[in-house]
Amino acid sequence: MWRREAPHVRAALLRRYGHPDACEDALQDAAEVAAARWPLTGLPDEPRAWLIRVASRRLIDRMRAEEARTRRERLDAARQPDAGVVPPVDDTPVTGADDTLQLLFLCCHPALSRPSQVALTLRAVAGLRVEQIAAAYLVPARTMTQRLSRARATLREAGARFTMPPPDALPDRVAAVLDVCHLVFSEGYTRTSGDQLLDVELAEEAIRLTRQVHAALPDHHEVTGALALMLLTHARSPARTDAAGDLVPLADQDRSRWRRELVDEGVTLLGRALPHGPVGRYQLQAAIAAVHAEAPAFPDTDWLQISVLYDMLSRVAPSPFVTLNQAVAVAMAHGPDVGLALLDPLLADPAMRGHHRLHAVRAHLLELDGDAQAAAEHYRLAARLTGSLPEQRYLNRRLARLTSDS
């Protein structure tokens, strides 16, 4: 109940009064009053309006006290009492979708670093407690509190307003919101352990947030694409770790454990977005995930189609990591030597030479090509370079298998 209402109440307060810190304090006050009163009196008829009213009253009380103190300090006896303290309180209903969107734009403001955007979004829009966000990102609550207050201070300094961005800035702002949602999703999805004590599932929070963006911008096809991508990827969750909690690569996953309802929803969303072109990177990535989802088993994968989609992706959003995935798809469609040739330019890139993914892909393609010795060398290098514990275990297992065979 509180989780659902808090973002709306926060949005209403922000819209009326600005002052993110003061609004946050008032919101907490209202939450405490509600926690104390509702169990005794039962839920009010309109909980949201009730919360806004209580929080507004607290906010005004505080602002008046603050104002009074400043007045006394200045010994400005001539001033009119209460003049210009706060705008009048109105109880106009909050329009949910637009408020959520404006709040997301504020949280993903370009003045903030990505980690700050993520933290603020989870706090202010998803309504998670600081302790929950801190636990999700494996840092102490104190560190997360500092990150959040720094983010709020940065917004204040930048003069960020709780309004719709101007139309020319809108595409970039929507892109930032999507990137933040996708970052939260990836953090949750790629986690295989370490969050057993967590009562928050970041991947599901990200999907919930993206659903809200989708509800506010139903005709924005990249938003639809991002939501489809997350659903299609999240569908694999039950199959991506084994009983021991180790990572199961896509090739070895038991596809009967994929969540069909999420696949179906993702495919439907994508089917609605794709025909409108031009397609963005989230739609293309979702399309790739959909091709995987449509293969009953790994050997049935339509690699030709996937390699074409990666080719499109490498034009829309070129990056060394897209090239890596493209090389895998091309290798599966046309043979490992063709895939390996795509990797050569990356080996010349100093930033990529030290990246484990390049060597892991190279090792995999060399193994397919029958060169066990060179494959072992690259598995060893990839395992040494990776920062991921489950990937390191996986790569070391592949290495052990190759070296024990020979």
Binding site: P140, M144, L148, R150, T190, T192, D195, S388, L389
Partner: protein, 130 residues
């Protein structure tokens, strides 16, 4: 992304901040010393304010260490120091920053004459299934 910054140093006598007990640091002109100290203070304040500092500890004299080695199927305790090397682990900071570039910029600010600063990424529990 989490990184550990380790300060390998040999203050004489052992003390913190290590720079105050390092001849190489004390021999610097006063204005350079002040600038280095101010840079360090600034980066610490920044780490704190940004919520990038997870934890930091200054360590006691390496001679106060107890070492446990396996001997005849049981742990055998001896007194430190652990290594005969000139420099010892004097302190560490766990930071959580946006990327490698930021980690490197922070670690560089910890450097000073007479000690070695080591920046090591920490492993994370997630991974890709691709």
């Amino acid at each position: 992304m989490k990184y550990v910054i380790m300060i390998h140093s040999n203050p004489e006598p052992w003390g913190h901040p290590t720079s105050e007990y390092l001849a190489a640091h004390q021999e610097l002109p006063a204005d350079v010393r002040e600038r280095l100290n101010a840079d360090f203070e600034q980066v610490m304040t920044e780490l704190h304010a940004n919520g990038e500092l997870v934890v930091g500890e200054a360590l006691a004299d390496p001679r106060t260490a107890r070492l446990y080695r396996w001997s005849d199927g049981a742990p055998l305790a001896t007194d430190g120091p652990y290594s005969e090397a000139k420099e010892h682990l004097a302190g560490f900071f766990l930071i959580d920053v946006e990327d490698q570039a930021r980690a490197e910029a922070v670690a560089a600010k910890f450097a000073g004459p007479g000690e070695t600063v080591e920046l090591r990424p920490s492993m994370w529990p997630g991974g890709s299934d691709q």
